[in-house]
């Protein structure tokens, strides 16, 4: 039971002792200047090595590794597929799936199931909670960026309708995208940010062969790989069109944690292990847009709360009763003794969330830097 819970929230994060949790919490929640166990500043990411186009057999691929040895490889493979009956004559009832009732529009605007994602994490089965959850979460943000991308995507015609729209070849044919994510090492911390960054990079480098046929003909492609087009149009092409900031980039999921009033990015293994309410968020660029925010159950809840010295039966008489008990929350009567770990109750404050969003989205903020950094990786 506890194993399962752990697997679904953060894999392989160690059980920490209450004393460690308390130490980390106090360090990280120091007002203004949190002390992270690895000395980074709150918005600093761990340095990573990245390269793309590493797998010759794929349409696009990337590898990202952290200094501690965790690394992920992503391969993107595209296949041409016949669009399953989307004519008006076949009613949705015949297909039987509720989702396909929109199949007419699906032919034009694409369908979410055209993107298939599988994640492989060592030590986990394919159908374990963690890989399934992660892949669905990443796939969702990929295809989900479409729904609202359609509205303001009019700036650039190629990506109208987002990724789903891009996959449409014509009414009868479409691309099917297989995204295979492979974590090469044991998941030392919550693997989602790494996998997401790698997927982002792989998608950026993905090319589809140039279409030669026109209209509703059966698709026919140019043999020349040189003229293949990027799945996500590159900024250089668009710059020529004078539309540099408007192009669509694949979404990225960042892991952000909040400790007290502080907002901390890219938590390391220890940090995530205990953190009160880590938050996940998807950003998508064009004009940096927040797609969704999600919270993850912090593994710190698995650790039992510590017993303050004053209540410790093994220490009776050894310590003077502590005077500095501050009542943290009058409603629950929760008491806070310094140096004693208590799982945090309740959610994150609005102001903290607002601060988080601001840090990511503001001009020159974290989101922009991450996306630009990734784009800077040589894709040729």
């Amino acid at each position: 039971m506890s194993n399962q819970r752990q697997a679904s929230s953060a894999s392989q994060t160690p059980h920490l002792s209450p004393a460690e949790l308390s130490y980390l919490y106090t360090s990280l929640s120091l007002p203004k200047s949190p002390i992270r166990p690895d000395g980074r500043s709150p918005t600093q990411f761990r340095p990573l090595t990245a390269e793309s186009n590493i797998l010759p057999g794929t349409n696009g691929s990337a590898r990202i590794g952290f200094a501690d040895g965790t690394q992920a490889i992503v391969g993107v493979k595209a296949e041409v597929e016949k669009t399953v009956l989307s004519t008006d004559t076949l009613a949705s009832s015949e297909v039987g799936e509720g989702e396909d009732s929109t199949s007419t529009s699906a032919a034009a605007s694409g369908h979410g199931s055209w993107v298939q994602m599988s994640i492989e994490i060592p030590g986990f089965r394919d159908d374990d909670a963690l890989p399934v959850f992660l892949s669905e979460m990443m796939r969702e943000s990929l295809v989900g960026s479409v729904a609202d991308g359609g509205g303001d995507g009019d700036g650039d015609v190629t990506m109208a309708g987002g990724l789903k729209g891009r996959l449409v070849i014509n009414k009868r044919w479409h691309w099917r995208l297989y995204i295979d994510v492979l974590l090469l090492s044991q998941p030392l911390s919550y693997p989602l940010p790494l996998l997401s960054l790698t997927t982002h990079l792989a998608l950026l480098s993905t090319k589809l062969p140039k279409l030669k046929s026109q209209g509703e003909e059966d698709p026919f492609f140019d043999d020349d790989w040189e003229v293949a087009e990027y799945l996500y149009p590159r900024s250089s092409n668009l710059k020529a069109a004078g539309n540099a900031s408007q192009h669509v980039r694949p979404p990225v999921t960042l892991l952000v944690i909040s400790v007290g009033e502080n907002v901390i990015f890219d938590p390391s293994r220890e940090e995530i292990a205990f953190l009160p309410s880590p938050l996940l968020r998807d950003t998508e660029a064009g004009n940096l847009k927040l797609l969704s925010i999600r919270t993850v159950d912090p593994p710190s809840r698995l650790t039992q709360p510590a017993v303050p010295n004053s209540e410790n039966v093994n220490m009776l008489g050894a310590t003077a009763p502590t005077e500095d008990i501050a009542v943290l929350n009058p409603a629950t009567g929760e008491e806070e003794v310094p140096g004693v770990w208590r799982p945090r109750r309740g959610g994150v404050k609005r102001s903290v969330i607002a601060n988080m969003i601001k840090t990511v989205l503001k001009k020159g903020g974290v989101g922009e830097e991450v996306l630009e950094g990734l784009e800077g990786v040589e894709v040729e």
Binding site: P18, Y23, P37, P338, V370
Partner: protein, 373 residues
């Protein structure tokens, strides 16, 4: 700069030619082959030429085909042939006529008397199961701990009922190996003032090679000079723990106060306090089972963070972590900070992430550390 993205490191694929046989042939030499990042196993097929493959061997690789050698740990011999085959990845070691392969990475093999840092993973009715990174969980019987107040008596069912008040799941425990069972699992005890729960710090586990070779390690036990003081001090300021020393000694915890002392910035006053035997009861009761942290000032926290980074830098650089290298790298990190401070071209970046040592600074720290050796 929030994110640094580095180009992939192209590994030097030039085969590593060690000064193969010259260094290996010294009689009774316990020679370690230098492990640098570029070392590669010498992949030439060796068929009966009597040479010992030096450098790093991988499982299945023939170490030598010469029948004059005896096989030691980490090797295997096919009954039909005379060649010695490695069963682990590691360095070839030669002791007189005995060839053994010292693994690069192994689990800790408990030995009686070792000081270990472990994490409680399971609480049973009369004992705890402790993860000490050995192949099997170690056990800590209820009868092998000090009762609060130092009372000596039989453990009753009342003690069994409140077993979690002593140690519960997740707690970090310093203990000593009391005995090793037939199957290699250890039985621990905490019957000393030095042992007990760890607190006031972060814990860092380091992979390495456990066991074998411990004899040549000077840091047997692995506790720094702070350990003479009361257990509260030992636990109190343990910024980092569980170094599985590359050279055998396993699991100890290094106490940063000495390093902090060296820095002169702040001295953890508690380390100097010695406990007389008459005050034993009080000390036992007041600190061993506490899970409440003392007040640690931010400066100390920063130093602890710096130390943990030093350990990580050493590990990533493939340098053995022990007291000396850690002290050296700590000082090196201070020096690097000064060097960087001199530049201060970029004011705004100067502050941001200045304390992060891994990445660009790591190489410089390693360089300096190696110079000091």
């Amino acid at each position: 700069m929030a994110i640094t993205i580095l180009p992939p490191v192209v590994e030097d694929v030039a085969p590593y030619h060690s000064d193969s046989d010259s260094s290996m042939s010294g009689a009774d030499s316990d020679s370690d082959v230098e492990m640098s990042g570029v070392s590669r196993p010498n992949k030439k097929p060796r068929t009966g030429n009597g040479k010992i493959s030096s450098g790093i061997v991988t499982p299945g690789e023939i170490v030598t085909a010469d029948p004059k050698w005896m096989r030691g740990h980490g090797t295997y011999m096919n009954p039909l042939s005379t060649s010695i085959i490695a069963t682990v990845a590691g360095k070839v070691q030669q002791t007189n006529k005995l060839l053994s392969v010292h693994p690069l990475r192994a689990r800790y093999i408990p030995e009686i008397g070792d000081l270990v840092v472990g994490r409680i993973v399971e609480v049973q009715s009369k004992r705890w199961k402790v993860d000490v990174a050995a192949p099997l969980l170690a056990q800590l019987p209820l009868s092998a701990i000090n009762l609060p107040g130092g009372i000596l008596r039989r453990r009753t069912s009342a003690d069994e009922l409140q077993i979690r008040t002593f140690f519960s799941e997740g707690d970090l425990v310093v203990a000593e190996v009391q005995s090793v069972h037939q199957d290699g699992s250890a039985s621990l005890h905490t019957r000393s003032l030095k042992y007990g729960k760890l607190r006031n710090g972060v814990f860092l586990a380091v992979t390495g090679t456990g066991g074998s070779g411990a004899s040549s390690s000077s840091v047997k036990g692995g506790v720094g000079p702070g350990s003479g003081s009361g257990s509260s001090a030992a636990a109190a300021s343990s910024g980092t723990g569980e170094e599985s020393f590359d050279h055998g000694d396993k699991y100890g915890h290094i106490l940063p106060p000495m390093v902090v002392h060296a820095d002169g910035a702040e001295a953890a006053s508690s380390t100097t306090e010695n406990v007389s035997i008459t005050r034993m009861e009080e000390m036992v009761s007041s600190s061993i089972y506490s899970s409440q942290n003392d007040d640690v000032p931010p400066q100390t926290r920063r130093e602890i963070a710096r130390l943990t980074q030093c350990v990580r830098v050493l590990v990533q650089g493939g340098v053995r972590v022990d007291e000396d290298t850690l002290t050296d790298s700590y000082e090196a990190s201070l020096q690097v900070d000064l060097e960087v401070g001199d530049d201060d071209e970029e004011e705004e970046y100067g502050q941001e992430g200045r304390e992060y040592l891994e990445g660009a600074k790591a190489r410089r720290i390693l360089e300096l550390t190696m110079q000091r050796k």
